[in-house]
């Protein structure tokens, strides 16, 4: 078994997967219904990415310092903090909780 071979195949597949999305016919994208679906999908993907990064650990669900990051970010956003401040609040909350020995 040659590891190099599988690495290169994985690279090719990753690129082709990304590229395929760009070749979905333009006509489809002009339909208002498809555009509406693209909008709801954006919300769904962002919500899912947030949750996955907050509580997933492989195939397990864990409550660790990342929950603190989620809460800190939500508070910062609610206070209308700019993006960078929100991100730093998240990182600081997670780092602090770990320093205190949780998660």
């Amino acid at each position: 078994m040659n590891l190099w071979l599988w690495i290169l195949i994985a690279c090719a597949l990753a690129y082709l997967t990304k590229l395929v999305g760009y070749f979905v016919p333009a006509k489809l994208l002009e339909s208002p219904r498809i555009m509406h679906v693209a909008g709801t999908m954006t919300i769904g993907l962002l919500a899912s990415l947030t949750v996955v990064n907050a509580v997933a650990s492989g195939q397990g669900l864990v409550l660790d310092a990342r929950i603190g990051a989620l809460v800190a970010a939500a508070v910062a956003l609610w206070l209308r903090a700019p993006f960078l401040v929100v991100v730093i609040s998240g990182a600081a909350a997670a780092a602090l909780l770990r320093l205190l020995g949780w998660g």
Binding site: W6, L19, Y22, T40, M41, A56, A74
Partner: protein, 252 residues
Amino acid sequence: MSGSSPPMKLRESPAFKIAVSLSIATGLYGVSFGALAVASGFDFWQTMVLSLLLFSGGSQFAFIGVVAGGGSGVAAMTASALLGLRNGIYGMQINAMLRPGGWKRYISAHVTIDESTATASGQSDPDEQRRGFWTAGIGIFILWNIFTAIGALAGDAMGDPKQWGLDGAAVAAFLALLWPRLKGREPWAIAAACALATILAVPFVPSGVPILVAAVVAGVIGWFSHARMDEGLEPDVDPYAGQHKREHGGGK
């Protein structure tokens, strides 16, 4: 660089600022990939090729994770490919937003990842979407590869990036990108449904797939909510068009 309307200074562009902070937070994480890959038995160039050519964090960690766990190359490749499927959906969305033409789409495809798509999606102005996508895509590509190399060379000497809260930064960044879209009842309902679908899916499917499940849930909701919205409002559909086509054995 002269046009009818003066270009916005990059530093004043909100999408640019978001993209730069995301690039730094994500790029730094490359250290942990580099260190982990070398610790799992990959050599320096194998590690670098994964960051340069595969370039999708989740898939890269999956690939080395399977090998580190004693899995075969085929299994590593399968896990990585499965995890990368969502990038196909991202490609569709970026294409709908930016419509890159010619050779540009071949480059934009390569930098179509969670963060670049999320940065673009978080903006409503097309110019901002473009700035956000390219800045995050290229910025992360450069930093991710530099820090992969540092991690691969320095190994574990730098400590766990979790200690610096970088995983918390990712959570905060994705929430911050979602936040401005949560205006009104439907977006909240979709976000809640997809968050729930993700949590329910995590234990049962390989990592990376829960995001696809959420995408399907969001797509189905969007498909049907659009139908509801449009009841009696869509005059441009000729109910007989399909029939004519069929009768005459073809389209126009």
